[in-house]
Amino acid sequence: MAMAPPPGGLSDEALLAGLTFGDPEAGRAFVQRFQRRVFGLALAVLRDPVLAEDIAQEAFLRAWRHGPSYDPRRGTVSAWLLRITRNLAIDALRLRRAEVMDPEVLAAIAPPDGDSVEEAAMTAATAATVRRALRSLPEEQARALMLAAFYGRTAEEISRAEDIPLGTAKTRIRLGLRRIRAQLTTAAEEG
């Protein structure tokens, strides 16, 4: 279903279509709408503002190039773009063999200020629920989940880094994600 446009603007899908079609106004609006999230994620993973900007630019370039492959049935435009950003940042991290930021620090980073005009209320509420849920997880589950979600670490890599059995690493990832899921579901049902 086409999302209702947020106040004062076109939907995310419409802006992505405009970016892809070469509409300069839509392209600029698209970048403006998502630049804080994209750059923020890249900076959080890489901790290097120069490299983060390079990755963020590349993420928008890929959005322009691969826009036609975006399938709304598989998720929102935001999620699609952030996955692109995350994967680019992870590749850059691996290339540089940079140290991973302590995921507890990542989880404690000040959340978005929510003043973005374009941020839909639903997204802000979901983000707030996710952050609360992360803080409610046992520390080891939150850590494993953040290492996987933001740094792309496999269970094997987490197992080695944390010096825990592989099965334990897998369980922490699984339980962590499912607990987040359960809290989001509860929050959605409570409206």
Binding site: E13, V31, A127, A128, L145, T154, R174, L184
Partner: protein, 222 residues
Amino acid sequence: MDCSDADLMLDELALDVLPGDRRAALLAHVEECPNCRRLLDQLTETADDLLLAGPEAAPPAGFEDRVLARIAQGDQRRRPRDRNALRLSAWTASAAAVVLLVVGGLTGAVIGRSTGGPGESGEQLRTVQLISASGADIGDVSTYTGDPSSWFFMRVESDGVPDATYRCVLDMDDGSTVAIGRLWAVKGHGGWGDHLSVDPRHAVAARLLDPKGSTVGTARFR
């Protein structure tokens, strides 16, 4: 692989950290199992929500301009698109016909504009109006039947068409419906074209479907 095995790996797949060797087997199971597929969708949505909850930060001044400059550079250097796929913004039916000829490599071919139907031999180009459920003219559809290539173009030109990603389908005379591709409408304009794997002479109609699968417009060839 059974569901209990799959359940142990779905979270890693949703987070995109499952190694390749296990990924293929899990995807094969998910394709056959609606329950696991539904759970994977839910977990993937949660994984996306994790990213959405990540920190924001203002990029350095001038970031927008640098991004747009890179896109503009990329646009100028962009190689000709795959001959099997084109994406166009608003264009006229006659321009579409010209593009059909160029992209289809049909120089020298004998083309006749016709209302054509199945059974007619030879190459043919036809254009019919795309009509909404309320009877409004919202665009048109052009098909070209050629040898070896056949092509399809749909154009939307109507303020009444909401911004969305639509699907283009062909209803064939054997009762089947063939999905052709997707059309993005922005501010009432959109266009999409592609090479056809079916013979357009056997198409009864072309339809534009909204994201819910409802027919937004129909172009009847017969």
